[in-house]
Amino acid sequence: MGKTLIEKIIARNLHDENVKAGDIVTVDVDRVMIHDIFIPFVADKFKEMGFKKIWDTDKVVLIYDHLVPASQTDDTRHFRAGDAFAEEFGPIHVHRSDGICHQLMPELGYVKPGDVVFGTDSHTVTYGCVGAFSTGIGYTEMAGILGTGKLWIRVPQTIRVNINGKLPENVSAKDIILTVIGDLRADGATYQSLEFAGDTVDALSVAGRMTISNMTVEAGAKCGLFVPDDKTAAYCGLGGTLPEELAQLRPDEDAVYSRVMEYRAEDFVPVMACPSQVDSIRPVAELAPEEISVDQVFLGSCTNGRLEDLRSAASVLKDRHIAPFVKMIVTPASRSIYEAAAKEGILDILSEAGAMITHPSCGLCCGRAGGILTDDEVVVATNNRNFLGRMGTSKVRIYLASPLTAAVCALEGKITVPAAYKE
């Protein structure tokens, strides 16, 4: 019987061709990611479990991003705890202010197609963009992996999402995944793997695929996968064409899916996730007549803080200025994105349009700093969650949107369809 992509990845990991959905198996871990909020807990559990050494220090990446820059005096305790752990059990890879973990893991080559990766963060699913199986776990399990290099998993069933055709100009990867989540609902893919395919998907950049993989967890998915191709190989530093060994990482024609969803790219429209559920999706065109005024716009996060996202916003903000009394906060996802955007003149455009450009970090998305709001304020944000109270009080209304839509909302000071700014 044919295999899905996740079955292929796990079979490769186990060197066992008989793996199928539903099996409970123990995988060898290729890489783990721990971030600053949880490192003290991981360190404590690791010691409590009685481990004396890390199974393979080169496979451990520690990233400070949620608490950078520190906004509360106790935050730096996490950096010290991480540094101490690295010193005692390292050498491990440590990034102290280089950007958001999920951006850095693929960008810096820590994740390759076919890898099995776990992280102490739910958006670890992001690495599916390069055809890796990656998912979020708690800090207790992470401590266990650090000692053993292994984790049990249940091989998930797969929902296949086929998208074919040409996307409208004002639609981006963000609109695709929001629409899919709206159709699946917040628990529609629980325990399942989402597998994206079709010529629209093939045409997406790795950055666009990252946006999609990143948000699959919002439908409950265990992972969100793309078949690695030449673009993936180039992104991962594996040369211009995908190495033969990795070319096997594609689903079989006769693979068995729990569900198949079909989309025509031409049918997508700019959408928003409305307060306060990620699956509460509405077309922007339907919201616009409600004249919803916007207090703040946030462009950033591991969902949409990449160069092409900044470019997209800059395309409408060039030689324009955001609306009076509206704040626009731009938080590039990594140090190299910041540098590239500076070189390309994108930061100039955004700053001259009135945006504040912060250091690369999780920023507002993790709700501890970076633009916290208060009662009755409205924020249009490009990140992945609009949960109640995520960005301030429970009365803050959070709308999730694409970078293009967000930029247009900043210009107009109200929820606006990006179509109006198309050439």
Partner: protein, 414 residues
């Protein structure tokens, strides 16, 4: 009898021919600047007045700079109160444009003006020949409602600057040295006036840095004469014209006069926890640091960033040190971006932030934890100023801070 610059500005603002130290005058204010540190309280008090009114909204400039971007729901509520009031009453309002004093210098302050700011470092404006002084929000409210306030005319301490700063020594070292000499209350209630042949060697950036820190000696205001450097700065920043250009009369009376030879100044640091606790940087070498901060209304200008970039170009921040680089305003940020300076810092591993008060203010954006050490170009090193109450702040120049960030310990740059 002759008058000092301070006396002349007060006389002009009071509409009287003469003012002398010790007099109390009612003055007409030229600008009233307020920031998010206290404006929410001003708004509450305003709303509690029997007959609330604004004398002249064009004199008000409100700037959100302390917690930007906002870090907590309570702060957001306070800032929203300020923003909503500004919107409702047509008050000039900036958010995220930069540290208030830098924004005021770039866009508003003119020689001869008398300006109240609801922030102690309002004395910065002396660099442009204006009498700027910090007030609380009640005084601010009085000025906002009436357009006026009362001023006790200050005595003046005069600093005659000669010689020239050596390579690697900055205006920051000079003013720290002066504060160390006269003490944290050495100029309490007084004006500090700077003059002398060395003035022509000091850029507007240097001058702003010097005047900014005078409040750390207790000064009510700081003042400098208007010269070509001042006029050029005004021309480049909106083509502003002076209200009046004053110098102190030859027979003006000064409370004290000091001659400072700039060539004798060495790189110094203000050790914890007082700004007048001054020592040469060389004495503090080997103090290990956790964080370094380049920014603030004192040292976040383009010249400071250039100096720092020159030192750090091609080098790296020490692995565990957090080096915060925070341009003082959007104008500075944009210029530094265009010159490629921000990427120099990024490539070195620094944390480059949007213009804001940052850790100088110590409530968000890079606060330090228990037992940690910060070397900072900020304005104050009071106990707990930068975060945890049991932490340590050393104040120093942009050069010293940058060299320290690279070395991981307090280090003299040149």
């Amino acid at each position: 009898m002759g008058m000092t610059i301070a006396e002349k500005i007060v006389a002009l603002a009071a509409g009287v021919p003469e003012a002398k130290a010790g007099d109390i005058h009612t003055v007409e204010l030229d600008y009233l600047m307020s920031n998010d540190g206290t404006t929410h309280l001003t708004v509450d008090m305003y709303n509690s007045l029997k007959h609330p009114r604004i004398a002249d909204k064009n004199k008000l400039v409100w700037i959100v700079d302390h917690n930007v971007p906002c870090d907590s729901p309570k702060t957001a509520a306070s800032q929203k109160k300020m923003r909503d009031f500004a919107k409702l009453n047509g008050i000039t309002f900036y958010e995220g444009e930069g540290v208030c004093h830098q924004v005021m210098a770039e866009k508003y302050v003119c020689p001869g003006q008398l300006i109240f700011g609801a922030d102690s470092h309002t004395c910065t404006y002396g660099a442009l020949g204006a009498f700027g002084t910090g007030v609380g929000c009640t005084d601010y409210l009085y000025g906002m409602v009436t357009g006026k306030s009362w001023v006790l005319v200050p005595e003046t301490l005069r600093f005659v600057l000669t010689g020239e700063l050596s390579h690697g020594v900055t205006a920051r070292d000079l003013i720290l040295t002066i504060i160390g000499k006269i003490g944290a209350n050495g100029a309490n209630y007084k004006a500090m006036e700077f003059t002398g042949p060395a003035m022509k060697t000091l850029s507007m950036s240097d001058r702003l840095s010097i005047c900014n820190l005078c409040v750390e000696a207790g000064a009510k205001t700081a003042l400098m004469e208007v010269d070509e450097i001042t006029l050029e700065y005004l021309a480049q920043h909106g083509g502003r014209t002076p209200k009046a250009c004053f110098t102190s009369d030859p027979d003006a009376v000064f409370a004290a006069e000091y001659e400072i030879n700039l060539s004798e100044v060495v790189p110094v640091t203000a050790k914890p926890h007082f700004v007048d606790n001054i020592a040469p940087v060389s004495e503090c070498a080997d103090v290990a640091i956790d964080e370094a901060f380049l920014g603030s209304c004192n040292n976040g200008r383009l010249e400071d960033l250039r100096l720092a970039a020159e030192i750090i170009r091609g080098r790296k921040v020490a692995p565990k040190v957090r080096f915060l680089v925070v341009p003082a305003s959007r104008e500075v940020y944009n210029a530094a971006l265009k010159e490629g300076l921000l990427n120099v810092f990024m490539e070195a591993g620094a944390i480059v932030m949007n213009p804001n008060c940052s850790v100088c203010w110590g409530s968000c954006q890079g606060v330090i934890g228990e037992g940690e050490v910060l070397v900072s170009t900020g304005t104050r090193n009071f106990k707990g100023r930068a975060g945890d109450k049991n932490s340590f702040v050393y104040l120093a120049s942009a050069a010293t801070v940058t060299a320290s960030a690279i070395a991981g310990k307090i280090t003299q740059a040149f």
